[in-house]
Each structure stands twice: as C-alpha cells, then as structure tokens.
Subunit: 86 residues, 2 copies
C-alpha cells in the first residue's frame, strides 16, 4: 500500500467514523429536530453512487468508507422518520 492509499484510508476512517457520534447522539437523545431530511436523503443516494464509483475505480478506501457510511446514513434516516412522528 503506497502513501496515497494510506491517506485515502485515513480519510475513509475519519469520514466514516464521523457519522458514528451522530448516530450515537441521535439514538441516545431521540432528538432529530435540527437534522435536515433532504440532507439525509441526498447523502444516502450520493454515498450509493460513491460506492459504485469506488468499485469501478478499484479504490479500496472509497469502497470501505462508503459501505460503512451507507449503514450509518440508513440508521439516521430511520431515526429521523421514527422520532419525527412523535
């Protein structure tokens, strides 16, 4: 693995890890008031496209990051739908 891929992996770890405190906070507080629903939906479709791009480019960091991110976004979308109703 060359240094470019190492930087890619660090980037992937950070932007993937970034969603985890948000998922935890939202799950804990059930407060979704300031989360934008269009943001979550655009993100979900966008991350799906990045995943396809990563496969086509054979970029392991892009595939790795976006697989975990799409799960986090899916959880946030489901929290937003569930807790918004209350």
């Amino acid at each position: 693995m060359n240094y470019t891929e190492i930087i890619g992996f660090i980037a992937a770890i950070l932007t993937t890890a970034a969603f985890l405190p948000q998922v935890y906070k939202t799950w804990k507080t059930k407060d979704v008031s300031s989360l934008s629903f269009p943001m979550l939906l655009l993100f979900f479709v966008g991350v799906l496209m990045w995943l396809i791009y990563g496969f086509l480019k054979h970029s392991t960091p892009i595939i790795f990051a976006n697989t975990i991110t799409i799960v986090s976004i899916f959880l946030l979308v489901s929290f937003k739908i569930r807790y918004n109703k209350k």
Copy 2:
C-alpha cells in the same frame, strides 16, 4: 469523460449538495441541538484528507466534491459554536 467519471461526478454532486439543505436549515432555524460536534470535527478533518487523496489520485470528482463540502462543514462548525452558546 468516461462513464466511471460521470458516476463519480453524480456522486460528488449528490454528497456535496446534501450539506446545502443542512446549512440552510441550520442558518434559518439556528437550531443546532441535535447536530453532533464530534461528527462535524471528524468530518472536517476527514474531508480535508479526501481532498489531498483526490489530488494525489488526480480524481476530479473527489477534488470537486470535497472542496465544496469543506466549506459547508466549516459553516456548520461555525453555526454549532455560535448558536450553542445561546
């Protein structure tokens, strides 16, 4: 531009555009209660690393997306700091 780069550009547009409704909503409502601060900080550093990775990989979609995203995240971080104090 081949179809891989077109998919990359669509992905870039979506994940970049995703932050705009969040920036607008936060700017409009001044409600930052459910936004996670560690999420924003990790995202900021992560997007910076993606930007470096994009330059090293000569990937126009990655550079394009992360330049605009880092501005959005910077705005959200500044909103979070400003409106959290009130």
